[in-house]
C-alpha cells in the first residue's frame, strides 16, 4: 500500500470533519462545580486520525461526548461536518469507555442492534457481522449472553457494534483498554487497515502513548483539570505503520515528546 498520510493545512474549519472553537464544559453536580474542559480549540480534518491522551479525569470522555452530540457545551461551539452539533450525527460510530451491551441480547444481536435501530437490513449485513465477529476473535460466542463474556470480549462486541454500519466518523473511548497486549496490537493493525481502506475520520482516546503514536496522524495531549489542550503532536510517519515502525526513531521521539508533555503537566493535579 502507498503512503496515505493525510495531514493537510486546515485553516478553514468548514473544511474540517470536526471543529471545536472555545469549547468549555462545566458540570454542576450536587457539590461544587467541576470545570471539566476549558478553551478547547481543535480541528480534525476529513479522514484524519486523531488520538487524545491525557491523565485520568482530564476530560477526554467529556470531549468525546461533546463531539458526539451527547451533551451540550457550556461555552463555545462544536461543529461536525460543517454543522453545529445539536445531537449525534447519523454517520457516527461510537465505542464507549464501558461496553454498554444490552443484557437481553446475544453477542450477535447486540451487534445487530446498530442495524436494527438504523433500519439497515439485518440480512444484508449478515456477512459483515460474521466478518467482524471473526476479526475480533468472538467466533463461537455469537449466541452467548453478555454476562457470559469476559471483560475484553465485551469490549470487542462494543467495537463490532460501532463498526457494523460503516460510519464515516468513528469516536472511540479507550476501545482496547481491556485487551491484552497482543490482541491489542492485532486490533491496532486492523483498525489502521479499516481506516486506510475507508478513510474514516477517527477520534481515538487511549491511555497507551505508543498506541496513540502508532495509530494517529496527530496526538492531542491534554492537561489535567481543568482540561485544556497542552499541545498537539504530529506523528510524521509513513503508512501503513507496521511493527517496523516501533524501531523508527521518529516514533520514539514522538512518544518521548508526548510522555514529557504529560509529565510536565503533572501526574495528577
Amino acid at each position: 500500500m502507498t503512503d496515505v498520510c493525510l495531514r493537510r493545512p486546515l485553516q478553514r474549519p468548514s473544511d474540517a470533519a470536526i471543529a471545536l472553537t472555545g469549547v468549555g464544559k462545566t458540570f454542576l453536580p450536587s457539590g461544587s462545580e467541576v470545570v471539566a474542559l476549558t478553551d478547547i480549540d481543535l480541528t480534525v480534518g476529513d479522514g484524519e486520525f486523531v488520538a487524545i491522551v491525557g491523565s485520568s479525569g482530564c476530560g477526554k470522555s467529556t470531549l468525546l461526548r461533546l463531539i458526539a452530540g451527547l451533551m451540550p457545551v457550556s461555552t463555545g461551539r462544536v461543529e461536525v461536518k460543517g454543522h453545529r452539533v445539536s445531537g449525534p450525527d447519523p454517520g457516527v460510530g461510537i465505542v464507549f469507555q464501558t461496553p454498554v451491551l444490552l443484557p437481553w441480547r446475544t453477542v450477535r444481536r447486540n451487534i445487530e442492534l446498530q442495524l436494527d435501530v438504523r433500519r439497515l437490513g439485518r440480512s444484508q449485513h449478515g456477512k459483515e457481522v460474521d466478518r467482524l465477529i471473526a476479526l475480533t476473535g468472538l467466533a463461537g460466542f455469537e449466541n452467548s449472553m453478555p454476562y457470559e463474556l469476559s471483560g475484553g470480549m465485551q469490549q470487542r462486541v462494543a467495537l463490532c457494534r460501532a463498526l457494523i454500519h460503516n460510519p464515516d466518523l468513528l469516536l472511540m473511548d479507550e476501545p482496547f483498554g481491556a485487551l491484552d497486549a497482543l490482541t491489542r496490537e492485532q486490533m491496532n493493525a486492523e483498525l489502521q487497515r479499516i481506516w486506510m481502506e475507508t478513510r474514516k475520520t477517527v477520534v481515538f482516546i487511549t491511555h497507551s502513548i505508543m498506541e496513540a503514536a502508532f495509530l494517529a496522524d496527530r496526538v492531542v495531549v491534554m492537561t489535567p483539570r481543568p482540561g485544556k489542550i497542552r499541545e498537539i503532536v504530529p506523528i510524521d510517519l509513513p503508512r501503513p505503520r507496521t511493527f517496523e515502525t516501533f524501531r523508527n526513531p521518529v516514533f520514539h521521539e514522538a512518544c518521548d515528546r508526548i510522555r514529557s508533555l504529560m509529565s510536565a503537566s503533572g501526574l495528577m493535579e
Binding site: L70, P88, P90, P103, W104, D116, V117, M145
Partner: protein, 256 residues
C-alpha cells in the same frame, strides 16, 4: 412438574388447617363450612358455577387486557414528557383513591349493565399497578444506555422497543402480577355494581341467602381463577426475561 408440588402442598395444608379449625375451634358451619361441604357444592353445582365463573373469567381477562393496552402506552407517555406526567398523574392517582362501587349509580346510568361497565371497573381496579411499575421500569435507563441509544439516533418508538421496554420488563411483570391478582377482584366489584350473572353476583346472592357453602365455593373458584392467571403471568415472565437477574438468581447458578 416440580413447580406444582408447592402449590399443591399449600392447598393440602390449607384444606387441612381449615378442616381442623372447624372441628377444634367449633367454628359454626354457617360461618365456615367444612371443606367437604364446599367440595360437594362445587361438584353438585358445577355447571351452574362454571357458567357464572366463565362470565367473571372473561370480564377479568377483558379488564386485564384493557389495563395492559392502556396502561403501558400511558406509562410511555408519562415517561416521555414531564408536562404530561405532571398533568396526568394527579388524575390517575385520584381515580385510585376511592372505592369504585361508590360510583355505582353513575356507572349504571351512564354505561348500563352490560359488559362495558364491567370492563371499565375492572380496568380501573387493575391498571394502576401496571402503570406505576411500567413507569419505574421505563425510567430505569442509566446514562450509559441512554447515550448508546442517542448515538444510534433511535426514535422515540425505537427507544421504547429496543431499550426501555426490555429494561422495564422485570418491573412491568411485577405490575402485571399485582394487576392480574386484582383483576378478578375488580370483576367481582364490577358485578356488584350491577349484574345478574358472574361470581360476584353469586357472592351477593349467597351472602343474602346466608348460603355459606355457596359463598365458599365461589371464593374457591375466584382463588383458582386468580392463581391460574397469576401463574400464567409468571410463566410468561420466565419465558420473556431469562436474562434478567431476577430470574437468573431464582433458577440458581451454583454457588457456595
Amino acid at each position: 412438574m416440580r413447580n406444582a408440588i408447592y402449590p399443591a402442598l399449600t392447598a393440602v395444608i390449607l384444606v387441612g388447617a381449615w378442616y381442623l379449625a372447624v372441628l377444634f375451634f367449633e367454628v359454626p358451619r354457617y360461618l365456615l363450612p367444612l371443606p367437604g361441604e364446599v367440595v360437594t357444592r362445587l361438584i353438585e353445582d358445577r355447571d351452574f358455577l362454571l357458567r357464572h365463573g366463565w362470565v367473571t373469567t372473561y370480564e377479568t381477562l377483558g379488564g386485564f387486557a384493557l389495563s395492559i393496552v392502556i396502561g403501558i402506552p400511558l406509562a410511555l407517555l408519562i415517561v416521555s414528557s414531564s408536562t404530561i406526567d405532571r398533568a396526568l398523574m394527579p388524575w390517575i392517582v385520584l381515580s385510585q383513591t376511592f372505592p369504585k362501587i361508590a360510583l355505582a349509580p353513575l356507572i349504571v346510568v351512564w354505561f348500563g349493565l352490560g359488559l362495558v361497565p364491567k370492563l371499565i371497573v375492572t380496568f380501573l381496579v387493575a391498571f394502576f399497578p401496571i402503570l406505576i411499575s411500567t413507569i419505574v421500569g421505563l425510567r430505569s435507563m442509566e446514562r450509559d444506555m441512554d447515550e448508546l441509544r442517542l448515538s444510534m439516533r433511535a426514535s422515540v418508538w425505537q427507544t421504547f422497543w429496543y431499550f426501555r421496554l426490555p429494561l422495564a420488563l422485570p418491573s412491568l411483570f411485577a405490575g402485571l402480577k399485582v394487576s392480574v391478582a386484582f383483576a378478578a377482584v375488580g370483576a367481582v366489584i364490577a358485578e356488584w355494581v350491577g349484574a345478574n350473572e358472574g361470581l360476584g353476583y353469586l357472592l351477593l346472592t349467597a351472602n343474602a341467602n346466608l348460603d355459606t357453602p355457596l359463598l365458599f365455593a365461589v371464593l374457591v373458584l375466584l382463588m383458582v381463577l386468580g392463581m391460574v392467571l397469576y401463574h400464567a403471568i409468571e410463566m410468561l415472565e420466565r419465558l420473556l426475561i431469562p436474562w434478567h437477574a431476577t430470574i437468573r438468581l431464582k433458577t440458581g447458578q451454583p454457588s457456595f
